[in-house]
Point group: C2
C-alpha cells in the first residue's frame, strides 16, 4: 500500500517584500508536481500576459456568472473596479491528478479558502526580523510617505495573521526556506488526516481476519 | 530571527514486526541531534546491557519512589512483575538542549504521554499491507500457535490506533521511511505551535512601531 496520492492545497501568505513570490517560483521550478493556482480577473491583459497561464481573463459578465455558479474558492473586488478570484475547478483538477497547488493569497482570501477547503495547509512566509521587513517596505520604490505607510499597515495586518497559520517559514536564506517548504509538503503527505482512505483500508483488513 | 531551537518529542508506535526499531536506529545513526529515550526498569540487566544507555536499572523501591515523585511520563507493570517507565527528566533535558527525543512505546504509553505532553508528535509506522504484517508475525519465531495468536491480537490492537496518530509512515522501503521521518521532524520544527515564542517576538515588534 502507498500513502495517499492526492495532492495538497498550500495557501502561502506573508507580507509584501518578504520574497514569497521568489520562494514559490523556485519551488515550482524544482518540483514539477507543484503548481501555482491561476487566478481569474476582469482586468485587461498586460503585454506578454497569456490567458490560462498568468490569469484566466474574463469579462465582468463571465466573472459574475462564475460567482453565481459558486465557481470560486474565493474572490474579491480590488478598488471597486476589477474582480480577482481563485477558480475552484482548476485547483480540484490539479489535486485529483496528484499535483500540489500553491495559492499565493492574502489573509482575507486565505480565511475564505479554509472555510470551503478545511484541509488546506496555511504556510506563512516571514521576514528574518521586523527591522528587515521595515527596511524592505521603505526601500521598495520611490513612492510618497503615504504610499509607504499604507503598504506598511497592510504588511503588519498580514503579520498579525501568523498565529492562525499551520507553518512558519522564515525567509532568511532562499535555499533553506525552500527546503522547509519541501519538508512541509513531504510531511503533510504522511499526515493521518491526508491518509484517511489508506488507514480505512488497513482497518478494514483487520476486520477481515 | 531563527525558528524555535527547542527539540521535538516524537512518539513512535506500530505493531511488532513492522521494523520501527530499525527505522529509529538508522535515524539516530544519521542524525546526532535525534536521541532515543532511555527507559527505566526494575528487571535485572542482561549481559552487555549498560545502565543509562540501554536502560536506567532501578530497584523496586527506587522505581516506586520515582512514581511518588511524579518522575515518569508514563510507566507500566509487565506481567505484574517488573516496572517499565519513561523518566521525564531525561526527556526534558534533551529537548531543552535542542535534541529531538524518540519514544518507542505502545499505544497505552503513547496516550499517557500525550496527556502530560500534548505537544508530542505521534508517528505510526505501518507495514506495507495487512498481508505483509501477518506474514511477519507468523514467520518471526518457532512459537506455539497460541503465542502467535496473542502477538497477532496485540499487533491488531496497535493498528487500530492509527487514526489517533498525527503521521503515518509506511515502512516498505527503509530509506523512504527514514526520509519521511526526516521530513516530519523538519516540518514540525516550522509548525506555528512549535514557534509560539518566535511569533510573539514578531507580534511584539509590530506593537512597537
Amino acid at each position: 500500500m502507498r500513502q495517499s496520492e492526492k495532492g495538497l492545497l498550500l495557501i502561502v501568505s506573508g507580507p509584501a517584500g518578504v520574497g514569497k513570490g521568489t520562494v514559490n517560483a523556485e519551488l515550482i521550478k524544482r518540483h514539477p508536481e507543484i503548481r501555482m493556482s491561476v487566478s481569474a480577473t476582469t482586468r485587461k491583459p498586460r503585454p506578454g500576459e497569456i490567458d490560462g497561464i498568468h490569469y484566466f481573463f474574463k469579462t465582468q459578465a463571465e466573472f459574475e456568472q462564475m460567482i453565481s455558479e459558486n465557481a470560486f474558492l474565493e474572490y474579491m473586488h480590488v478598488f471597486g473596479m476589477n474582480y480577482y478570484g481563485t477558480p475552484k475547478q482548476f485547483v480540484v483538477n490539479e489535486l485529483n491528478q496528484g499535483h500540489h497547488v500553491i495559492l499565493e493569497i492574502d489573509v482575507q482570501g486565505a480565511r475564505k479558502v479554509k472555510e470551503v477547503f478545511p484541509e488546506a495547509i496555511r504556510i506563512f512566509i516571514a521576514p528574518p526580523s521586523m527591522a528587515a521587513l521595515k527596511e524592505r517596505l521603505v526601500k521598495r520604490g520611490t513612492e510618497t510617505p503615504e504610499a509607504i505607510e499604507t503598504r506598511t499597515k497592510t504588511a503588519f495586518a498580514e503579520m498579525r495573521a501568523m498565529p492562525e497559520c499551520d507553518y512558519l517559514v522564515i525567509n532568511d536564506d532562499l535555499n533553506e526556506a525552500i527546503a522547509q517548504m519541501e519538508a512541509i509538503v513531504a510531511a503533510e503527505m504522511c499526515s493521518v488526516a491526508h491518509n484517511e482512505t489508506v488507514i480505512n483500508t488497513f482497518l478494514g483488513g483487520i476486520e477481515e481476519c
